[in-house]
């Protein structure tokens, strides 16, 4: 049995990601051809729109990556504990609502306090939003996949109602809030670009999460519960419910922060369709990143580039941006498929190890 040792997990994941991307881009090229478009033109436009220049990369790609980073980290953390939080989208929206509300209400607070209060509110709101499915899971045994998805709709429509009702701009024309005061805005990170402090916050958060997972007792318990709740309880005397409670709330809080950072860092107001499905894209980001914070940073920027390139593709090559949604979906399928193949090659899909 000594020969049956798996290669390093990190390398495995990296290869998997690379394979998925290659497979996907190949398939996308074929689809574009079938659709009557020129794949080379599309690729050129995509590259130009995402990494064509320093400013494009920083002001568009990285800016697009910020909410994906937060939401991706939120999803990755939950998934590592075996908590299938599909609710990042809703948590993001209520986080944005709470952040904007604080920023619009407590305008007398001095800058650093106002921005801190706004972001804290979005963290709390995201956590509270996750609390509902958490309690339903732990107390009533209702699967969180369903409840988090349903809570998304509640969150999305709550935000929509806010911008049509209580928080609508004073002019009352558009479904959006007033713009928040300067004191409530995140400072820019690199002057002359649109990149704001939120990006740095996300990187710090990724570092903290990586450290927690690797080095701390709680992180170890989280991984144990995610890998096998039964073994965590029996061999480790870990209470899986406690770990799930903390992780689920933390995941919701981080997703809420995604919304708070977006409105205080970029849009300075809440819109009805603030998120372009980031909470769902975050699932692909997390999976493709191997559920590791470092991996999420890479894949979030990759998806940010995809979305940035989509705009350019539409403008310059006349290819609908919806094609990028197709590419994203293909990435997810490729990752899932390759992961299964890898599992099958290891021969453990039917409990055949060591027979």
């Amino acid at each position: 049995m000594s020969g049956a040792i798996s290669p390093k997990r990190a390398k495995e994941t990296a290869l998997l990601g690379l394979g998925a991307v290659t497979l996907t881009l190949g398939a996308a090229a074929v689809l574009l051809l079938l659709g009557g478009y020129d794949p080379t033109k599309a690729a050129a436009a995509m590259l130009r729109g995402s990494v064509g220049s320093w400013n494009t990369f920083v002001s568009i790609t990285l800016v697009r990556a910020v909410p994906l980073l937060f939401a991706g980290l939120a999803v990755a953390l939950a998934f590592r504990a075996g908590v299938w939080n599909i609710g990042a989208e809703g948590q993001l929206y209520v986080g944005a609502v709470a952040g904007v509300w604080v920023a619009l209400t407590f305008t007398d607070l001095p800058g650093p306090f106002l921005i801190t209060a706004a972001l804290t509110a979005s963290i709390v709101a995201g956590g509270v939003w996750a609390l509902v499915p958490t309690l339903m899971k732990l107390r009533l045994g209702i699967g969180e996949v369903i409840t988090t998805i349903l809570m998304n709709f509640v969150g999305i429509y709550l935000a929509a109602w806010m911008v049509h009702g209580p928080l609508q701009e004073r002019r009352g024309v558009f479904p959006q809030t007033d713009r928040i005061v300067d004191a409530a805005r995140l400072p820019e990170l690199i002057s002359g670009t649109r990149l704001h402090l939120g990006f740095a916050l996300a990187l710090v958060l990724a570092g903290v999460l990586a450290f927690v997972l690797k080095r701390t007792r709680f992180g170890f318990h989280l991984r144990a519960v995610g890998a096998s709740p039964a073994a965590a309880a029996a061999a480790g005397r870990i209470d899986p419910n406690r770990v799930i409670l903390v992780t689920f709330l933390a995941s919701g809080a981080i997703a809420g922060l995604a919304g708070g950072v977006e409105v205080t860092g970029l849009t300075y107001a809440l819109y009805e369709d603030l998120s372009d499905g980031w909470g769902y894209t975050a699932i692909a980001v997390a999976l493709l990143g191997g559920l590791r914070p470092g991996g999420v940073v890479v894949t979030a920027i990759f998806f940010g580039a995809l979305q940035a390139g989509a705009g350019a593709m539409q403008r310059d090559a006349g290819i609908p941006a919806a094609w990028v949604d197709v590419v994203e979906a293909l990435v997810i399928l490729a990752v899932l498929g390759l992961d299964r193949i890898r599992a099958a090659r290891a021969g453990y899909h039917r409990g055949e190890e060591a027979q």
Binding site: M1, F220, G347
Partner: protein, 507 residues
């Protein structure tokens, strides 16, 4: 001899990096019970799965009735009259036992199928609660259902992988008698069981696999037990096994298959069990399936608890080891209890964790590590390395994932880890299930050594020979209660009767 019903010729099969079979042969003749023997990882299950159409070989030939065939699925195998009773269960949990049995008889009317079920149950003496959902069954009943399902389709060749692991001795004997009857009717039966004496008692011919190759095929009457074990473990290993087992009186006792009985009893009598202080006591404990359990465990004794699967043993193990609190009654147990759960894969280890992480699972809660927020990975790595060396875990390093260890080596990791806790009591639940002779002997040796050092051992097992062989005092669990076994009743038959008396079998 007549023509074989089935002939497997130099079968190769690889799973990833593991060469499960390399040139394995097997002939099955009408009228024979054919025992397939081998150590863990020798390829027994894979070979049977090839026969049952679950695994397709990379190369090699399968002949059925003289004709070369391909078995792409269990359905192919069934259509040729080959029925496999799988080691893992293949029942639909949400359906009743009756419906599961009917599933195997598609094409027949409900009443016809029902009658066939009743008739087969009567003929075979295998009793199962027909109206219960499979999800609510214990493992024993599931196993019986699985066997019935195969028999209902009247196979010419019946293949059984570990059918007796969860049956009572009496039921196992019944099953063997049934297998003999089936052979007498001109069918062929192929059987894998870890307990050597069972296979020897029932088989006409034997095939020994070693590292995926057929090491020997011979009529039962022409081979000695000693030779078989030598073939299974590699020539010259038989003696080593005997030495490996703690204080095993002679190598013959070990290889005799019921080694645990003779080998264990002599050691047990050496230990000064009776006078130890009480380490744990349960008073009128209720918890889920436990219905008022009384139990006292003393330092240095091996307390054996026998019983048919699903009579509350698992809850007892959890309560005794502090993993579950009683809903009623009192449980005085040590703060730390070493625990060998029955399911290595699900409860003992995290398959995707490496050795260090699996060791950390238990050790990181030790007091010497304090209430620290951080994981002391350096210390834990050293500890894992020490366990790997001291318990001779076959793994290239402490970074090897538990998934890639054989069952015996997984159990070594668990034992090493739990011993490092230095707990005053150890609860072991079916600690040798699925292990081969050598690995089981090793586990038994470690348990007895611990008892001799003064640790209280609670051995919960469905393997009656194991309990009788190792334990100083024996109790039986039935329906969530504990029945003490008197010295006079401490026999296979006596305890077996108690196990069945209040067992899980309804009706």
């Amino acid at each position: 001899m007549s023509q074989p019903l089935v002939r497997l010729r130099s079968i190769d099969r690889r799973f990833g990096l593991i060469q499960a079979l390399s040139g394995a042969d097997l002939d099955l003749y009408p009228g024979e019970v054919h025992g397939v023997l081998g150590a863990n990882g020798a390829g027994k299950s894979t070979l049977l799965n090839v026969l049952g159409g679950l695994v397709s070989p990379d190369s090699g030939g399968i002949e059925v009735g003289g004709a070369l065939v391909k078995l792409r699925s269990p359905r192919d195998a069934w259509s040729l009259g080959i029925g496999l009773v799988h080691q893992h269960f293949t029942l639909v949990p949400a359906l009743s036992v009756r419906d599961n049995l009917r599933l195997g008889l598609r094409g027949r009317s409900f009443s016809e199928a029902g009658a066939a079920v009743e008739a087969t149950m009567a003929r075979t003496g295998l009793r199962v609660p027909l109206e219960t959902n499979v999800s609510e069954l214990g493992v024993g009943d599931r196993q019986r259902t699985e066997i019935l399902k195969a028999l209902l389709r009247d196979p010419q060749v019946l293949v059984l992988d570990e059918p007796t692991a969860v049956l009572t001795p009496e039921e196992a004997d019944g099953l063997f008698a049934l297998l003999r009857d089936l052979a007498r009717e001109g069918r062929a039966v192929a059987l894998v069981a870890h307990k050597l004496d069972e296979v020897l008692a029932v088989s006409d011919r034997l095939t020994v696999l070693r590292t995926g190759r057929t090491a020997m095929t011979a009529p039962r009457s022409q081979v000695s037990v000693r030779k078989l074990v030598a073939k299974m473990l590699g020539d010259g290993v038989a003696d080593e096994v005997a030495i490996g087992e703690q204080a095993g009186p002679s190598s013959d006792a070990v290889v005799a298959g019921n080694a645990q009985v003779s080998g264990g009893a002599s050691v047990a009598s050496l230990s000064t069990a009776r006078g130890g202080t009480v380490v744990a006591s349960l008073v009128a404990v209720h918890a889920d399936s436990l219905k008022g359990v009384q139990l006292e465990v003393r330092a240095g004794e091996v307390r054996g608890i026998a019983g048919v699967e699903g009579n509350g043993q698992h809850d007892l193990a959890l309560v005794l080891s502090g993993r579950k609190s009683p809903s009623l009654g009192r449980a005085d147990i040590p703060k730390e209890v070493a625990f060998i759960p029955q399911d290595r894969h699900a409860e003992g280890l995290v398959a995707d964790f490496d050795l260090t992480e699996n060791v950390a699972l238990a050790l990181s809660r030790m007091e010497e590590f304090g209430p620290s927020v951080m994981m002391p990975w350096g210390v834990l790595r050293d500890e894992a390395e020490r366990i790997r060396t001291r318990f001779e875990v076959v793994a290239p390093s402490t970074e090897t994932r538990a998934r890639f260890l054989s069952g015996g080596n997984q159990q070594r990791v668990i034992i090493g880890r739990e011993l490092a806790l230095n707990a005053p009591m150890l609860v072991a639940e079916n600690p040798t299930r699925g292990l081969d002779v050598a690995a089981a002997a090793y586990v038994h040796g470690e348990l007895l050594k611990l008892a001799a050092e003064g640790v209280a051992i609670v051995l919960i097992s469905t393997d009656l020979d194991e309990v009788l062989g190792l334990a100083d005092s024996v109790s039986v669990m039935t329906k969530g209660r504990i029945v003490e076994v008197s010295e006079a009743q401490k026999t296979r038959e006596g305890v077996g009767a108690l196990m069945l008396g209040g067992g899980e079998v309804s009706k």
